[in-house]
């Protein structure tokens, strides 16, 4: 038996025993690469995800809504940071990760390439986009890679408020004037299908799924999670008195779940490839924020260096 195959055997034993892999443990290169790709995409999504909502902070309809939105966006910055840190334990540094985002080499969730046109979008995003994210993230708390799993525990704890505040916005609008209700319905119409796309391609077309499940990075397939999301969300839309924009949506008694219409995968791939309504705007905003912050980083580094010098002089004196 070669050295690598015995190491790999031990690695798989740890995985099968539901133990965790920690940063300094041996792991297959492909496991490391898969995690770096997944965790960094996840971190980038949190960071870019601040932009569509940031758009509405100054125009929130009340102080309460403004506080909630500020707190939510701040959480997303925090989630990005937890995830970048987890990713760095795999041996890639922060600067490289940011560069991959800024050059477009790394992806982030395509959902953030759609525009936030009305205040109701803040409700729909919290309810649907955060709802779908939670559905994806809860099983990741049991991911086989320790630092990722621990980061996800923190993220999930904080994410629940995001969804509830979104649903509350939708509730208030749905019970409001006819115009407000129409605004809520319009937001649902625009966010429903992109939210279903958040779970990724159908299982039959998903390239990374099989190994990820074997390695217990993923626990459920894209289609399983999407089905759960639909089953959970349809009754919530009914409670709001809103209509899900899918004429084929129908409860299937045999499978105790909803059948739903086909997803427009052409749209999905077109947005992934950079042709969504806001891809360019999002990336430009991110790069600009980074560049505008460079003098702050330089000043902080110069200050730290000077403090260290003063400290050294006083020690030797």
């Amino acid at each position: 038996m070669t050295q690598v195959s015995s190491l790999e055997e031990k690695f798989l034993q740890v995985i099968d025993a539901e133990d965790k892999i920690e940063p300094k443990d041996w792991m297959p290169d492909e496991y490391r690469k898969t995690l770096i790709r997944q965790i960094s995409q996840h971190a980038h999504s949190e960071i870019v995800g601040m932009l569509p909502e940031g758009n509405w902070i100054t125009r929130a309809p009340s102080l309460k809504r403004k506080l909630a939105l500020l707190a939510k966006v701040q959480d997303e910055a925090g989630h990005g940071l937890y995830l970048y840190s987890a990713c760095e334990t795999l041996g890639i540094d922060r600067e490289t990760l940011l560069e991959q985002l800024h050059t477009g080499k790394a992806k982030y969730s395509s959902i953030f390439n759609y525009p936030t046109l009305t205040w109701a979008d803040m409700g729909a995003i919290g309810w649907l986009v955060d709802g779908a994210a939670i559905m994806n993230q809860v099983p990741l708390c049991r991911c086989s890679y320790g630092p990722y799993a621990r980061a996800m525990v923190r993220v999930c704890k904080e994410e629940s408020f995001h969804q509830r505040q979104g649903y509350e916005i939708m509730t208030v609008l749905s019970k409001g004037s006819a115009d407000q209700k129409a605004m809520a319905q319009d937001a649902l119409n625009r966010w429903w299908w992109p939210s279903l796309m958040m779970f990724g391609p159908n299982d039959s077309d998903s390239t990374h799924s099989e190994m990820s499940i074997r390695w217990k990075i993923k626990r459920f397939s894209n289609d399983e999670l999407r089905q759960r999301f639909v089953d959970m969300t349809v009754p919530q839309a009914d409670l709001l008195g809103l209509t899900i924009p899918d004429p084929q949506l129908k409860f299937n008694e045999a499978k105790k779940g909803y059948d739903f219409g086909p997803i427009d995968w052409n749209e999905f791939w077109s947005v992934v490839k950079g042709n969504g309504p806001c891809n360019e705007e999002r990336l430009n905003a991110r790069v600009k924020a980074h560049e505008n912050g460079s003098w702050v980083r330089e000043a902080a580094a110069a200050y730290a260096q000077k403090q260290a010098q003063i400290h050294n002089i006083s020690k030797t004196a």
Binding site: A71, L81, S85, D93, E95, R154, E158, R297, A300, Q307
Partner: protein, 94 residues
Amino acid sequence: MNNNWPLYEVFIRSKNGLSHKHVGSLHASDADMALENARDVYTRRSEGVSIWVVKAADIRASDPGDASFLFEPAADKIYRHPTFYDVPDEVKHM
């Protein structure tokens, strides 16, 4: 030159009476900034009453490959545990 700020590991005491516990890490230009950022990143919901930050480069960690020779010798030293010793049933509170 590496433009990355140094990495700091963050430890939080959730309340007095408990130890500081590792919660994650962050980059900062110096320890003061690490402390300020740790407060914003790791204690947004009353998670702590005290924070330690330590430069990750200053931590020496054991190698997982050494785990067996470091930790397995403890496994066969059962005489270090109270249950190894027989005392009469009549003896209370021991």
